[in-house]
């Protein structure tokens, strides 16, 4: 099983639009939306949900007033300032550590497990899809990302698919770490802006921290040719292949408005430079040595 995770660091560089485009070209795959915080892939993939499962996160402390002796121990022990002077717990500040629960001298604090979201197995335009919705203002997004990826992997195995295409979240924190650990390779979508380059470097550092090979795809490259060149240079220094460059093209927005990927939308305009560029990038991804099941090192062994 190979898993390709599409990332970016900076948000809004085109991860999801490109994930959908790649998914429309890939054969025998399962699609996974691991951006559980602000999931958008379903707007293009239009999944028919087959199964909904609750995602249970951690517990939240709740004081049983009738058993409380107002001693204030819970308030004093809480390091997250989640319990105020009147001994009222603010669930948004509660970290779910359970210290007050275990150390309340009256045993007056319950710790009910919370439903933090839902995850789905669906049939989408691109075949089987696993996706999720994290509840508003919830914690545990990393846990849900790990769960969604695990379920996508199981589904792929069940259905005999050998590729998982995962749309990742922005940033470099817990959901991103959860989205890339154990992945086969990353495609980092970068836009040629000073912030895009800055954020790409941080994702590239994260990728090398977890020893996962990354490839670069430059989107909207013609917005700033100088920075596109700078990105290419940084990629070369970090030994990351630049898969190709996609021009700035309103087709991405037009397709999104219609709930389509760029190939569906651009059907009548097959020779558009944008479609050609994205097609060529996918061919390179498919042929990339890091996604080769045998792996480059194995291949050498075979030849010898």
């Amino acid at each position: 099983m190979r898993e390709l995770v599409i990332l970016s660091g900076k948000g809004g560089t085109g991860k999801t639009s490109l994930t959908a485009a790649f998914a429309s070209m890939a054969a025998n795959k399962v699609v996974c939306d691991a951006d559980v915080d602000a999931a958008d892939l379903h707007l293009l993939a239009q999944p028919q949900v087959r199964m909904i499962t609750d995602f249970m996160g951690g517990g939240i402390a709740r004081i049983r007033e009738e058993s409380c002796s107002q001693c204030g121990t819970c308030r004093d022990l809480c390091r997250f300032a989640a319990i105020d002077e009147q001994l009222v717990i603010n669930p948004l500040h509660c970290e779910g550590c359970g210290v007050c629960v275990d150390l309340c001298p009256e045993g007056a604090i319950d710790f009910p497990i919370q439903k933090c979201g839902e995850w789905f197995i669906s049939d989408s335009k691109y075949g089987p899809m696993v996706h999720a919705r994290l509840g508003i203002a919830e914690e545990n997004s990393g846990k849900l990302v790990s769960l969604v990826r695990k379920e996508a992997r199981n589904l792929a195995e069940e259905q005999g698919c050998d590729l998982l295409i995962t749309d990742g979240p922005p940033g470099i924190g817990c959901p991103v770490i959860a989205a890339i650990s154990g992945a086969t390779a990353l495609v980092i979508v970068v836009e040629p802006t000073v912030s895009g380059l800055h954020d790409m470097i941080r994702v590239a550092e994260l990728a090398s921290h977890f020893k996962i090979p990354g490839m670069i795809c430059i989107n909207k490259f013609d917005l700033n040719l100088e920075l596109s060149a700078a990105i290419t240079e940084v990629a070369a220094k970090r030994n990351m292949e630049v898969l190709g460059m996609v021009p700035f093209d309103p087709i991405f927005v037009h397709a999104m408005v219609k709930g389509e990927n760029i190939f569906e939308y651009g059907e009548d305009n097959k020779d558009s430079a944008t479609l050609e560029a994205v097609r060529a990038i996918w061919e390179k991804i498919e042929g990339a040595s890091v996604l080769n099941n045998m792996g480059v090192l194995d291949m050498k062994a075979v030849i010898r």
């Binding site: 359970g98 210290v99 150390l103 508003i136 979240p169 940033g171 924190g173 941080r202 700033n224």
Partner: protein, 279 residues
Amino acid sequence: MIISVASGKGGTGKTTVSTNMAQALETELTFLDCDVEEPNAHLFLEPAISSSRQVETPVPEIQVEKCTQCRKCMDICRFNAIAVVGQQVLVFPELCHSCGGCMLVCPEGIITETGRELGVIEEGQRDKITFAHGKMRVGEAMAPPLIKEVRKATRAQGLTIIDAPPGTSCPVIAAIDGVDFVLMVTEPTPFGLHDLKLAVEAVKLLGISSGLVINRADLGNREVYAYAREQEIPILMEIPFDRRIAEVYSSGQSVVEAMPEWAEKFRELYHRIEAIVES
């Protein structure tokens, strides 16, 4: 007054709006970049950084040779950061949420705290703007403690502008909790609207008043306008798609410097927010 600039979806123009509003105003103010995973505001504001300090969060250190393997620390830890395996006790500092529970329950009193690096906070100045941001260490998972630390630089009096991270989960909450106003920046596309709705839910949950900036207002469709009307969220500014703005942004210039005609519009935006907060 504290204004947080947030969005739900990434890449809609949070940093563009927050930095340009800060630069357009002719008053002293504090700017806090709370997108600690991918801080970008410094690229546009270019503050002279005058101090940099490392921020740590406490994690347990166990004097293993004195441990009796009673497992009390392991049992209280909800984050699986401590494991007792046979005669050994193992600490996984990356998983620790710094609640201090293990230290409280250890009957031998052999747990003390050491630090795990969360990242650095840099502070500086650009003209009238007092600047601070957090840069999370690459490999660190938890953004909220560093965001809370950045927010300690909030100005006691006068204006503080916060550039929030994307999304709707705990890092965003840490960046908007307790502020006076949340300015949401969106784009009129299906992705923009979908994620805006989530952000609006989060803002409502916290009971903060809010307003909307629609960026690249002429790309996409009109649905976000209908949504704003229905939710009674005021649209405080519209920025049309302009390739020149995109290019100015791409090279790290500020819009109000490269295109001075925008300065007045960003000042108006601020005055609209001020009027809402004061009413």
